[in-house]
Symmetry: C2
Subunit: 305 residues, 2 copies
Amino acid sequence: MTSIEKQGRMNEIDLIEKIRKLAAKGPRITVGIGDDCAVFRPKPDHDLLFKTDPMIEDIHFTRDLDPATVGHRALARNLSDIAAMGGDPQFCLVSLALPEELAANQIGADWIDLFYRGLMNLAKRTGTALAGGHLARAERIFCDVIVCGSVPRGKALLRSGAKPGDALYVSGRLGHPWDSRFEPKLSLGRRLRGRATSCIDVSDGLSLDLFRLCRESKVAAEVDRVPIVRGATLDRALHGGEDYELLFTMPPRLAPPKGTTRIGTIVRPQVGVKEPPGFVRFQGQPLEPRGHDHFRRPGAARITR
Amino acid sequence: MTSIEKQGRMNEIDLIEKIRKLAAKGPRITVGIGDDCAVFRPKPDHDLLFKTDPMIEDIHFTRDLDPATVGHRALARNLSDIAAMGGDPQFCLVSLALPEELAANQIGADWIDLFYRGLMNLAKRTGTALAGGHLARAERIFCDVIVCGSVPRGKALLRSGAKPGDALYVSGRLGHPWDSRFEPKLSLGRRLRGRATSCIDVSDGLSLDLFRLCRESKVAAEVDRVPIVRGATLDRALHGGEDYELLFTMPPRLAPPKGTTRIGTIVRPQVGVKEPPGFVRFQGQPLEPRGHDHFRRPGAARITR
């Protein structure tokens, strides 16, 4: 190896020192980067929420996407799940695997720098401490972000609490482009605690995520309308995914939070006919949960869903 | 697609149902697989320990390795870090990404089955609940296991507490083959709580891990001898890694736990000369922390170290 090559290569120690500086210890992260494990001191009388959702090159993004957007989205998709449970973000761990050709030069150093910049910008704004992680090699860029959130004991918003007669709401609009820098709906999630009977984030498309919510709640749903992003098709809004809006149910007597739209009503599933739990009707027609078997197409299937 | 091909493909729902059955809810995992996040209820007055350490095909293992051993090791390497902090395992999350050619057929279904069998066997024996995870596609097999452990508040064993005069110990012997099914030293870790002044697991080789312990403790070390696995070379025992034994320090007046060997002594680093914090001498000669920059070679560099 020439000395120029050597100079260009990232040094683990330098890189770790750089990341250590980003990862300041806090009142709850009592041991951060630099030991065998990160140490977290939970708030008394709180439950903790955990989510992991990797982003893989050529499946969730391509290399021409701005690395800061990759870093932002890698954290934001997990925070969206914390929001859907009504939680407050606590910390994250970041596993990052890079191909040899990126690990070996300045382009790679810049990529990591921008990735962490995008991730830390969102982490700081949302109170998510960077508690640790891992660097490795892989053939494609692979980043697995694990997020921990906190919620007062027993107050997590579940998918399983929707009741027939509940009103069905969605935040914002559906049909966002897949590479946008969306904001996880954390403050909406917090406001729904103790009010919503069920909640899920729309990450795989309304048709699939509403199916999941209804199946877990053992109910069905009638959808009348959906608010659509300007320029998006109805098909994309119904099945497209990557929206990261919150879909939730509330008793109809409660006023919904601002910025949300009532899109339908939860109904009793019709046992014995072709409308089992999970069944969704859109403007009178059955709405199939498309893209259901994510393992069959380039894309990710969440075991936790 | 023919119906035979279709039949052969794993169905996400079936697979998730299978994994759901493995992942029984427990007293502390109040919501497991089937919601946006896993929900964990921490014990009062305990700190939580977190570790993530991926296993990547062709870097940490090859496809001819028994999938049950891959599953075992994917969990065991992380439990080894929980052991090194003196913790009790609580739960794990498993992110698994498989190549198309494995995801599409019976070989893949068998691979996943055996992988989970190896992982769950160790999980059950160690009291680690499977709380959730993720399935995705990738070019190579990629599994990222995240483990959470628990330790009475303030009692985590750190790398940073070694003092000059402390005796230096290692459990078992060093120089294990890289593909063995080792047992994480959880009960030893628990017995060291309140007794060891510092601890680390030997995952990257004695020379590197002892350097790390000494650097974090701002001390140096003199090593006299190392217990070597039958058939292993001294070089492998000093620098090989993948041993997952515990390396720890204790005041010399305390009796060491059974099955551990005193290998040396912690000394004061000599300021101003060439023996800075982290400096290690083996049988009178400087012992270089080899393989230090893991980012440069096929292998993984842990940010948390």
